[in-house]
Every structure is written in structure tokens, then in C-alpha cells.
């Protein structure tokens, strides 16, 4: 890999003066596909931005050279993606490539189904990288068997917990493997003064106003709650919140909350605040292993002797491990609207572009940036970012736009991050998939997001001790009566079709 990189770098240097020298065979390949395309393809990309500001030109121009394109990004901040994408869909103001990440959002689903976008299914096998997309991923990304865009390939399950290792050591507690141990740690982190300052100023669990990406869904996996829906052998569907395991999770969280082991205002805390609390040493448990390096960066100069340990294997006592999978390894779609991409030739050219982005060279540009400037490999061949600030400005915004995150694996020089990465890959083995990912329900498309509010609100209330089990059961009944039962039936019907 290193060798290829050197040659790539050499090419890049030469490229600035002699454009044709490097891309030679690449261009030839493209010419074969689309006869009249020699000039760089001009394309627009409506893309989601996960960082505070868009990337600088550095990496973009290199990507353009590599793929022989001229890219105009139209960045949508992640926080406002729902309204921006739905309005873009409604007004038809789209781009050649549209990044759609909210696959369950009703308006995204209905516009996909209305035929606004190209069906790319038949074309994928013509491209060497795209043809490698696994059939399961294609299935998970399809709606009623039609693939309306190139799926973003992600790891199956990325969740896990992060603990303050230095606090654990100080209190003589082991890295947990069961939920009881997690509870005990939350208690000890709250009551036993883990930072040793003699003041009662710590809370075990930090959390935020989100049931899915914060601790609740992860804990619910540990309890054995199905991911989204449970399907029994007769094809009967039960929503996750109608199971005993969900109740157990709520009781667990409620106990944490009542005893003060869970941040008291978690229901109104934003992600950044949750990270700040952790970085300031107010909390000791954080959900989301992918954030491990940003937590360390945030805690710099604030927490001396900070040590972190990511944990993914926690059981409810039966020794079995489970973790929920988001979208079954699909992070969304790169879709091509027919209003912008008028001909098949144009579509093929865009597919070629995405295919090229999965090449190792392009992958490394979007992951690490330029070797020697943004990152380097240390003596062990481990990847190491040289200048975090420069990396954040030039490269980071691209890393979440990579069409595939699983095509190559890097060894990270930061042992904590490397461990987290390994655990995320290990999660594949016991990931719990959501059976409805490839299924479609008209009622869910229309009302699902709103109905979900009923359950979310009821769950928060129960955890915070403001309602009883009967109240929660009543909320579930309301959900059923307002359309939930219909969703269940529609999923069962759709499931039956796939089983034949």
C-alpha cells in the first residue's frame, strides 16, 4: 500500500504541471465507457456535512484530478439535513448526486418510490469496485427490490460504550462485561469520588436527548431487545418497545436516573454538551465508540491522566453479546435524480466517478489526506494524523462522504482508536439487524416518524420516573391505535412476500 502511495504522490506532484501524464490509463478506461467524454465531467453533489465548516480546496482538487471531474459541492449541515433535504426534494432543486442518509424519513422514501431517481441496480456490476458491494447490502439498501442509488457501505454496527479507564483503576473496578458491572461502575463513578478531589461532583453516565444514538438503544441491545422489530417463526412482527427486554432496559435506566447515576438533564442535553461534560470530567461513561478520539482531543489540558477504554462486549448475564445495527451496513444512498441526470451515459459517468472514489488512492485522500502533510505511517505501519487541525480543515468533512468505509482497513497509531476500530469490526459478529430495513410500509412512510414521537416521549417520561408502567403500556396502545397496528400488518405482508 505504501508503495502505491509513493507513486501516487509522485503523480500528484507531476500532475500540477503535466496533467495527462498520470491519469493516462484511467482516462482511457473512461473513454471506453463514454466515447465523447475527454474533458473533466462537471458534477454537482448535494452532500451532508458532519463538521462545522466545509472542507478547504486542497483535497477536493486532488480528488478532481484523480477522477477527472469538476465537483461543485452543495453542503447541507447534518443538523439541518431533515428540512433541507425534504425541501430540496419538494422543490426539485437537486444536484447530480444527492446524498440521502435518512432512509426511514417519509418524504425521502416517498420520493424514492415515486421514481424521482435512477434505478442503479442493473449497472453496478459493470464497475470493479461497485460490483463488490455485497448482495446483503444491496438488499438492505433497496426499496421493494429496487436500488435507487449507490449505498454508502459502513460497518454493520458501530455502537459501544467508552469508560474512563483511569477512574476504573483508581476505584479498583474491572472493565465491565455484564450489565450489573456497568451499573456498579455508574454507581461508583457517582458516589465514590473517582476523580479524588473530595467533592461530590461526578455522575456515572452521561447521556443526551436521543434514544437511538445515545446510551438507551445500546443498552437495550445488551438486554436482548430486538432491533426495531421482532419477527417470530410465523412471521409475526412485534415492535421493540412492546417487548419485555425494552421494559427491562427502561427499568435499568430509570434506576440509574433515580439514584442520580445518570445525568439528570439528559433529556435536554445536546451531543456537544454531553461530550463537554465527559471532557470536563463530570461524567465517566459515554456511548459511541467512534467518538473516542474527539473525546480525547476535547479533554486535552482539562483531564490529566485521562485514559479511555472502549467496550463492546457486555451481556445481560447469559454470556451472549448483541449490538444493534444501523441500516444493516448501509449508511444511506448516493442517488441520481432524473431531473438532473438526463441520459444513461451521464449516469454511467457518475457511477464511474463513485467507483473511482472507492479506489485506494481516493479512499486515502478522503480518509487521511496527503501523506506527509496530513498523516504518515509510523515504523509499525500504523496510520497517524500529523496535524489534527489541518486534517480537520482539509480532510475530515470528506471522511463521512466516502462511498465505502469498509473497503480498506487502516491500523491506527492511537491505541485507543485502534482498539475502538477493531471492536467495531468485531461487532459484525453479533450485530442484531433490523428486519424491516428492506421492507416497505405505506403507513410507516406517511406517519411513522410522528408515531415514533409517542414512544420516544413515553420512554423518556418512564425513565425519568414521571410515569408508570401502565402509562407506558397505554402509550404503546395509542401508538397501535393511531396507525401502529397498520404498520405491523403491512410489514408482515411485505415480509411474507420476501420469504417466498
Amino acid at each position: 500500500m505504501k508503495k502505491r502511495w509513493v507513486s501516487m504522490l509522485a503523480c500528484v506532484t507531476v500532475l500540477s504541471t503535466l496533467l495527462s501524464a498520470c491519469g493516462g490509463d484511467k482516462e482511457a478506461a473512461k473513454n471506453a465507457a463514454v466515447a465523447d467524454e475527454n474533458a473533466p465531467l462537471e458534477l454537482t453533489w448535494l452532500n451532508i456535512l458532519h463538521t462545522a465548516s466545509p472542507p478547504t480546496e486542497t483535497i477536493k482538487s486532488l480528488l478532481e484530478e484523480y477522477t477527472n471531474t469538476k465537483i461543485t459541492f452543495n453542503w447541507v449541515p447534518d443538523a439541518s439535513k431533515e428540512e433541507r433535504i425534504t425541501t430540496a426534494l419538494a422543490s426539485g432543486e437537486l444536484a447530480d448526486i444527492v446524498t440521502l442518509t435518512m432512509m426511514t424519513n417519509s418524504s425521502v422514501r416517498s420520493s424514492l418510490k415515486s421514481g424521482l431517481f435512477w434505478d442503479v441496480g442493473p449497472y453496478l456490476d459493470d464497475y470493479d469496485n461497485l460490483s463488490k458491494i455485497a448482495p446483503e447490502i444491496r438488499e438492505a439498501a433497496s426499496i421493494e427490490g429496487v436500488l435507487y442509488g449507490v449505498p454508502f457501505q459502513k460497518n454493520l454496527a458501530r455502537s459501544g460504550l467508552i469508560f474512563r479507564k483511569d477512574w476504573l483503576d483508581k476505584l479498583g473496578l474491572p472493565v465491565p462485561t455484564t450489565l450489573d458491572e456497568v451499573y456498579e461502575i455508574a454507581r461508583a463513578f457517582t458516589e465514590d469520588d473517582p476523580d479524588g478531589n473530595g467533592v461530590d461532583d461526578t455522575t456515572g453516565f452521561g447521556d443526551r436527548s436521543d434514544l437511538k444514538y445515545s446510551s438507551f438503544k445500546t443498552l437495550s441491545s445488551y438486554f436482548g431487545t430486538p432491533n426495531g422489530w421482532k419477527v417470530d417463526e410465523n412471521g409475526k412482527f412485534t415492535p421493540e418497545f412492546d417487548t419485555q427486554e425494552y421494559m427491562d432496559t427502561m427499568n435499568f435506566s430509570r434506576k440509574l436516573y433515580e439514584n442520580g447515576y445518570l445525568a439528570q438533564d439528559f433529556a435536554v442535553t445536546a451531543k456537544t454538551d454531553q461530550q463537554q461534560q465527559f471532557a470536563q470530567g463530570k461524567t465517566g461513561i459515554y456511548t459511541g465508540m467512534v467518538d473516542i478520539s474527539s473525546l480525547r482531543t476535547l479533554a486535552q489540558d482539562l483531564q490529566e491522566g485521562l485514559e479511555l477504554v472502549p467496550v463492546n462486549k457486555i451481556s445481560n448475564g447469559d454470556g451472549q453479546y448483541r449490538i444493534w445495527s444501523e441500516g444493516s451496513g448501509v449508511g444511506g444512498l448516493m442517488a441520481f435524480p432524473k431531473s438532473e441526470v438526463k441520459t444513461e451515459a451521464e449516469l454511467k459517468r457518475l457511477l464511474q466517478f463513485i467507483n473511482d472514489l472507492i479506489d485506494e488512492e481516493a479512499f486515502m485522500l478522503m480518509t487521511g489526506g496527503i501523506e506527509g502533510t496530513h498523516y504518515e505511517y509510523d515504523e509499525n505501519g500504523a496510520y497517524k494524523v500529523l496535524n489534527t487541525e489541518l486534517w480537520q480543515a482539509d480532510v475530515q468533512p470528506f471522511s463521512s462522504s466516502r462511498p465505502s468505509e469498509i473497503a480498506y482497513t487502516l491500523k491506527d497509531a492511537n491505541p485507543e482508536k485502534q482498539l475502538a476500530n477493531e471492536l467495531i469490526r468485531e461487532n459484525d459478529k453479533f450485530a442484531v439487524l433490523n428486519p424491516t430495513v428492506p421492507l416497505d410500509s405505506a403507513t410507516n412512510n406517511e406517519q411513522g416518524t410522528e408515531l415514533e414521537k409517542i414512544i420516544t416521549d413515553a420512554t423518556f417520561k418512564y425513565i425519568m420516573g414521571q410515569s408508570t408502567e401502565a402509562d407506558f403500556k397505554k402509550a404503546v396502545q395509542t401508538w397501535k391505535d393511531s396507525g401502529g397496528s397498520k404498520i405491523t400488518e403491512e410489514y408482515e405482508a411485505a415480509y411474507k412476500l420476501t420469504q417466498k
Partner: protein, 319 residues
């Protein structure tokens, strides 16, 4: 018999005259009329033409098919709105918050303006004015964030104070019972200074002779305020009240959206936030247009009613 034959042409004449009068007026004040033009164009383009979009309230609007291609569904969305249990909740929350706005917030700027008017120290007066104006220029995000920092249970200043005095911490941000207090408190903080401007301006035009006359009659300060200043600014108060009522159901989307969370939804969800989540976030464009239309119609009826009432009470009204 002669009467109609005379009146008819005279009526015609009158109309002609009226028309001519308008035309001559236009001719006479060409420049002035030219100056209205941009405003008119603005209203036509940005306020009247979008109203055409309201037709999607009667459709199952699909962006891909457009207004012409989407199926017509009659009053389906209206029926859904009025039969959904959320409707009563939305209406209740909206009306209660509106009432708080009118009863608690509306009189405050008048009182503050009257108080400022009594201040004899010019410097102190301008200084106080400036200070209470400032929050108006902060966005709701900042106001709500400041509130969050002050009120959060996890180390918020207020709660720390309560705890240090031996009290029980209060979860202001997640309790439904605190939502309305917080809402109105934030509005008072942000807008009280700014809202005094018009009243202060109105007070300055009160004829000083009236005060002198009142003084001759032996009126003290409070008397003068009650019998001279207040009646003098009455038309302004009425006009502002009508305008305020017109925006009844506009309680400030941004403000409420920031305060809204899973725990206080039953008292905090209002029409504005509902339109946003149902329409823009979930993409039910037709349904949220219906909600918006309903809101607009209620606002219109309220303005017309209050205007009429004001006229009955002998005031000018707004139109």
C-alpha cells in the same frame, strides 16, 4: 317621476368624477405613486402569489408530480386535523400561551414606558432604555441557551443556589409545569425594552398644557399619569393590541421549538412547531399546509372581530 331620471345620471357622474379624481391624483403625484410600486410588487410576489400554494391543502401533494399532477382529495386533511387528538392539545397550548402573552406580557411595556417617563434624570433614562433594549438583538438560540446554562440540573447556577440553600433541585427544563413560566419569562426578558419604544414615542407627543392644567387642578404625579398620559396613548395601545391579536397563533416558532422536548411536549407543542415537524421534517406537505391555513384563517377572524370591537368602543381600529 323626475327624481330617478335626475339621480341616475348624477350617480354616473359621481362615479366618473371619482375615477377621474383617482387618475388626476395619480397624475399629480406621479413620483409618490411610483414609490409605492416596489412595495406593491413585493407584496404581490412574496405575499399573494405564494397563497396559490395553499391549494395543496386539498391535494395529496407529491413534489414529483407537482400541483397539476397531484390527486385532489377534498377536505381529507382538514378532517384529519380536526379529528386527531393532537388538535385539541395544539389549540389548548396555543390559546393558553396566547392568553399569557396578552394578559401578562402586553401591559408590561406600557407600565415600563410610564415609569421611564416619570424619570427626570435624562441620562439615567437613556441608560436604562439602552440596557433593556439589548436582549431584543439576541437570537432565541442565545436566549434559550443562556436559560439552559442557568437552569440545568447538572450544575446550573440557579439549581446550585437552590441546593446550597438546602433546597431540592428543580428540573425546570423538563417539567411541563415550568414551561409556560419559562416561555413568558424569556419573552419579557427579550422584548420588554423594545416594546416600550412606541409607547415612549406616543407619550412625547402629549400636549404639555394638559399636564399644566391637571397640575392647576391639584393632580399629583400618579393622577397625571392616570388621567392624562394613559388616555393620550390609548389609541396606540388599542392599535397594538389588535395587531397583537392578529398574530394570535404566531407564538414564535423558533422560541418554542428550542424549548420543546419529550417531557414537556403536552404543554409545549403549538401549531408552529407542529407544522414544522409534520411538514418539513416528515415531508407531509399537504397536511402541514392545512394546519397553516387553519391558523391563518383563525388569525384573520380574530383581527376582524377585535377591529370591529374597537370601533364599537369608539376607537379608530387599524383599518
Amino acid at each position: 317621476m323626475k327624481v330617478p331620471s335626475i339621480t341616475a345620471p348624477s350617480n354616473l357622474n359621481l362615479e366618473k368624477k371619482k375615477k377621474n379624481a383617482f387618475l388626476t391624483a395619480v397624475q399629480k403625484y406621479k413620483l409618490l405613486y411610483l414609490m409605492i410600486l416596489p412595495g406593491l410588487v413585493y407584496f404581490i410576489i412574496f405575499k399573494y402569489m405564494p397563497m396559490g400554494g395553499l391549494v395543496i391543502a386539498f391535494q395529496d401533494y407529491q413534489p414529483f408530480l407537482g400541483i397539476t399532477g397531484s390527486p385532489w382529495v377534498g377536505f381529507k386533511h382538514f378532517i384529519r386535523l380536526f379529528t386527531e387528538p393532537t388538535f385539541m392539545m395544539l389549540l389548548r397550548n396555543t390559546l393558553i400561551l396566547f392568553a399569557l402573552n396578552i394578559v401578562i406580557f402586553f401591559p408590561l411595556p406600557i407600565i415600563v414606558a410610564l415609569m421611564l417617563n416619570e424619570l427626570r434624570n435624562r441620562h439615567l433614562k437613556t441608560w436604562i432604555q439602552t440596557i433593556i433594549y439589548i436582549p431584543h438583538f439576541m437570537s432565541w438560540v442565545i436566549i434559550v441557551s443562556i436559560t439552559y446554562v442557568f437552569l440545568t440540573v447538572d450544575g446550573g447556577v440557579i439549581n446550585e443556589m437552590i441546593a446550597s440553600m438546602g433546597g431540592q433541585k428543580i428540573s425546570f427544563l423538563t417539567s411541563p409545569e415550568w414551561l409556560r413560566t419559562m416561555y413568558i419569562g424569556q419573552i419579557i426578558w427579550k422584548e420588554i425594552g423594545w416594546s416600550t419604544i412606541i409607547y415612549l414615542a406616543a407619550i412625547t407627543v402629549v400636549d404639555p398644557q394638559l399636564y399644566e392644567a391637571a397640575e392647576m387642578d391639584g393632580a399629583a404625579r400618579l393622577r397625571k399619569t392616570w388621567h392624562v398620559t394613559l388616555p393620550a396613548i390609548r389609541p396606540v395601545i388599542i392599535t397594538l393590541l389588535i395587531l397583537k391579536i392578529g398574530s394570535t397563533l404566531d407564538l414564535g416558532f423558533e422560541h418554542m421549538y428550542l424549548l420543546l422536548n419529550s417531557l414537556n411536549r403536552e404543554v409545549a407543542e403549538i401549531f408552529d412547531t407542529y407544522i414544522y415537524t409534520a411538514g418539513l421534517k416528515n415531508g407531509q406537505l399537504s397536511f402541514s399546509t392545512t394546519v397553516g391555513l387553519f391558523k391563518g384563517v383563525v388569525g384573520l377572524i380574530l383581527v376582524m372581530a377585535s377591529n370591529k370591537l374597537a370601533k364599537k368602543m369608539g376607537e379608530d381600529g387599524v383599518y
